[in-house]
């Protein structure tokens, strides 16, 4: 009777002894006699190939025993009914379309029980990592890392975990995400996404698995779109920048009609003649994102919602600092020392501080449904970020979206909001 294949690490590589002769070696692994040798990060691929072929194996790379069924769940936060079965059915690989962060924590606990070892949990940034660590600390030992850190350390970190969880992959840089997923040896891989962008679907399917469940999203807060006219000088500056950009973009479209804005950006970066147009586009975005009229409207909104928990999502750091100086609201930016940033986020979570301002780190650094009021001041990086920002606000709260009138922000606001929310949005012209 042939012995089961034996998987082990040797001198930084993964070795498999007794690989079945009729089973082709996975891509990236070389055969030397009856032994397969490959990079350690490909352990998961070997295990997946053996599992698919229904061949029993002995994995000596870590001491993990996978039980046939889960003995018990954490009574405090059970995963949604049927989800554990669904995940088991697909070999604990796949993407969940889900907006509820409590489910993510429940699945982390589930995988911890399953693998009897802490899972590796990847989040988009350090603020989100701080938030998830503090939420998990009491219940589940998990290794929570930002995607930037994980991508740099995955060559050694990746082989220490049998379960990998990816929170909000749609908000992670695709190159870093691919690098981290490729280097990780974990066999159980679950992603939590609010949506699957069409261009990412194939990559996610190969590295995380297919979409296995779409869970009902919790009700979203009321969204009010406020159209703000620009001051005369800012409008002039915007017009000048926009026409510089548009002249070049028009020529580009005439020459390459099928190529999109992304191709234009890529080309303009490397072309000294087109670079002024690129700078002009950034200038136009900056002019529309923050100006005096928006500042006075934010002032008004803060007065109107005094005493409630408010999040100000700013277009950039300069705007966050300006608001912080004007209203003595803590600004949460990547420049701040990490301890100070964490203290401010904790103070907001426990209600000591009632308002925060920041460009990026509030998107994941504040727990879901914590704020009463959200103000999207301008700028932003697409629909995924907008959705993440809206999720910080309670379902009975309100999100104000400040849109500079007659600028590119009007189109962006329309494109980035989901269709259902679009219908429900209240638009105020001023």
């Amino acid at each position: 009777m042939p012995k089961n294949p034996r998987i082990r690490f040797h001198q930084g590589e993964v070795h498999v002894d007794g690989w079945p002769a009729d089973l082709p070696a996975p891509h990236g692994v070389r055969a030397t006699g009856d032994r397969l040798v490959g990079p350690a990060r490909l352990r998961w691929r070997l295990r997946a190939a053996l599992a698919d072929a229904d061949v029993g194996y002995r994995d000596e790379t870590c001491a993990v025993s996978i039980p046939a069924h889960i003995a018990h769940h954490d009574a405090a936060a059970p995963p949604p009914p049927g989800l554990a079965t669904t995940l088991r059915g697909c070999g604990h690989r796949g993407v969940l379309i889900d907006h509820d962060e409590r489910t993510h924590l429940a699945i982390a606990r589930l995988l911890t029980e399953l693998t009897q070892a802490p899972p590796l949990l990847l989040v988009p940034d350090t603020a989100a990592a701080h938030r998830v660590r503090s939420q998990l600390a009491a219940h589940t030992p998990a290794n929570v890392q930002s995607i930037h850190r994980a991508a740099a350390d995955m060559h050694w970190l990746g082989r220490r975990h049998d379960a990998l969880l990816v929170d909000a992959p749609e908000r992670m840089p695709s190159t870093l995400l691919d690098r981290a997923l490729d280097q990780c040896a974990a066999l159980a891989r679950v992603g939590f996404a609010s949506r699957v962008p069409p261009r990412d679907a194939e990559r996610w399917c190969a590295r995380l698995g297919p979409v296995v469940a779409v869970l009902a999203s919790p009700s979203a807060p009321r969204c009010e779109q406020l159209h703000v006219p620009m001051p005369a000088d800012a409008a002039r500056q915007y017009e000048a920048a926009w026409s510089t950009f548009f002249a070049a973009f028009d020529r580009f479209v005439a020459a390459r009609g099928e190529a999109g804005f992304g191709t234009f950006l890529a080309q303009a970066r490397g072309d000294p003649l087109q670079r002024p147009a690129l700078h002009a586009w950034h200038e136009a975005v900056r002019c529309a994102a923050w100006h005096e009229h928006k500042a006075s409207l934010v002032d008004e909104l803060l007065r109107h919602h005094a005493g409630r928990r408010v999040l100000l999502f700013t277009p950039d750091r300069a705007c966050a600092y300006e608001l912080s100086r004007a209203h003595l609201i803590p600004a949460i930016t990547a420049e701040l020392p990490r301890a100070e940033r964490a203290a401010m986020l904790d103070a907001f979570a426990d209600g000591t501080i009632r308002a925060l301002a920041g460009p990026r780190l509030l998107d994941g650094g504040v727990a879901q449904h914590t704020a009463d009021v959200g103000v999207l001041i301008g700028g932003g990086f697409g629909a995924a970020q907008r959705a993440a920002r809206c999720q910080r606000v309670r379902p009975d709260g309100v999100v104000y979206e400040l849109v500079s009138q007659d600028t590119l922000e009007v189109g962006r606001a329309h494109r980035w909001r989901p269709a259902a929310a679009d219908a429900a949005a209240v638009v105020h012209e001023r």
Binding site: W156, L157, Y321, S324, L328, A343, M344, A347, I353
Partner: protein
């Protein structure tokens, strides 16, 4: 004025060519002085401006055609780091915490600012304006009173480049001779293996190998700044940088900026002996801290190597004996090495030492003639 606190370059800025299995760094040199001078002038013009201005200028600007994109980015990176590090203002995080807490407690903005300003000896307006001025990119640039030389910037950039390349090393071997104590001590502290030569005449070798089981292990990049202080060195490191694999070779004469100067002499006694010996024996070769010698008491670094024309090098140890218990270690050195001259205070010499021809007694100063005579006597 040297640029201190140089740190390794990130991988994306490493500039080298691959030839004959070696990774040859593209050093900055005298031909780069014109554009480096312009770069320094530009930085000086930003004196007092926030550091973000410097970054914005170089993020959007085009490369100087004399420099080439990568070399300019290296110089900008090194100068930027230095400017940012040297203008470190007072930490304001406690002021911010105080103000935000007051605002959350319902205190009026103006009142909170006035109270905090009084406590910190400034005005409310200045406090509000500079609330974030301690953050790295908001710090105002402070240009030094002494102008920077383009050559110093080039040497600092070369040091950062060498350190950046060495960061990717899997195996490092350093052969060093003369003035090596600071380097070897640092190497030992970094966990390198130091191979001592039994005769003490050859170079001392320190080796380091990366350990895949130690993920946080770092290559000994801090040694690069100490190399120029040695008399002769040769560093060979096996590196894999991105897709390039080869040996990085650094040797005596490479245009590296030396780090902070290690102490040249341990005592005034040694300094005086070196001066007088050179004056009285101009044709002899005197070398400071030539090598390390293994003894029964551990590792010893004899103070000098003295070599007569056409003769063998002799090691010379001057024992000031401020701590009398150190005499045992000096005896061990005498036993471990056949060509050592030991200078000992006359009062500390016992019968055993007096019988050894290699021991030179001294009172207040070490007589160079007596040392030379002892060497000649013992060589016979």
């Amino acid at each position: 004025m040297p640029i201190d606190g140089v740190r390794q370059l990130p991988t994306r800025l490493l500039s080298f060519t691959s030839a004959d299995g070696e990774l040859v760094p593209r050093w900055l040199g005298d031909r780069d002085r014109p554009w480096l001078r312009d770069l320094l002038e530009h930085a000086q013009a930003l004196d007092g401006q926030p550091f973000a201005m410097w970054q914005r200028r170089w993020a959007n600007g085009e490369a100087d055609p004399r420099a080439g994109s990568k070399r300019q980015r290296i110089a900008v990176h090194v100068l930027g780091r230095w400017l940012r590090d040297r203008s470190k203002p007072k930490d304001l995080s406690h002021v911010r915490r105080e103000l935000f807490a007051q605002q959350a407690a319902g205190v009026d903005r103006e009142r909170a600012l006035r109270a905090a300003a009084e406590r910190h000896g400034t005005t409310a307006e200045l406090l509000a304006r500079g609330l974030y001025d301690d953050l790295p990119e908001r710090r105002p640039i402070r240009w030094p009173a002494t102008p920077l030389d383009p050559g110093a910037l080039a040497a600092a950039a070369n040091l950062a480049l060498a350190q950046g390349m060495l960061h990717h090393a899997e195996h490092v071997r350093i052969d060093v001779r003369g003035g090596s104590r600071a380097l070897l001590r640092t190497a030992w502290l970094l966990g390198m293996r130091v191979e001592l030569q039994p005769r003490g005449a050859d170079a001392t070798r320190a080796t380091w190998r990366s350990d895949p089981t130690q993920p946080r292990q770092r290559a000994p990049t801090s040694l690069v700044a100490l190399l120029p202080w040695t008399n002769r060195y040769r560093l060979r490191a096996r590196c894999t940088i991105a897709r390039s694999r080869g040996d990085l070779v650094l040797a005596t004469g490479d245009p590296l900026q030396p780090g902070p100067e290690p102490r040249r002499y341990d005592s005034a006694l040694e300094r005086r002996f070196a001066r007088e010996f050179t004056a009285t024996h101009p044709d002899w070769k005197l070398l400071r801290e030539p090598c390390a010698v293994a003894t029964a008491h551990g590792v010893a670094f004899p103070d000098f190597s003295l070599q007569a024309p056409g003769g063998e090098p002799w090691l010379c140890e001057i024992a000031g004996l401020r701590d009398p218990s150190a005499l045992a270690a000096k005896r061990a050195l005498l036993t471990a090495h056949p060509r050592v001259v030991l200078c000992v205070p006359r009062a500390a010499i016992d019968d055993a030492l007096r019988a050894d021809r290699r021991v030179v007694p001294f009172a207040r100063r070490v007589d160079p003639l007596a040392v030379a005579a002892a060497i000649e006597r013992a060589s016979r």
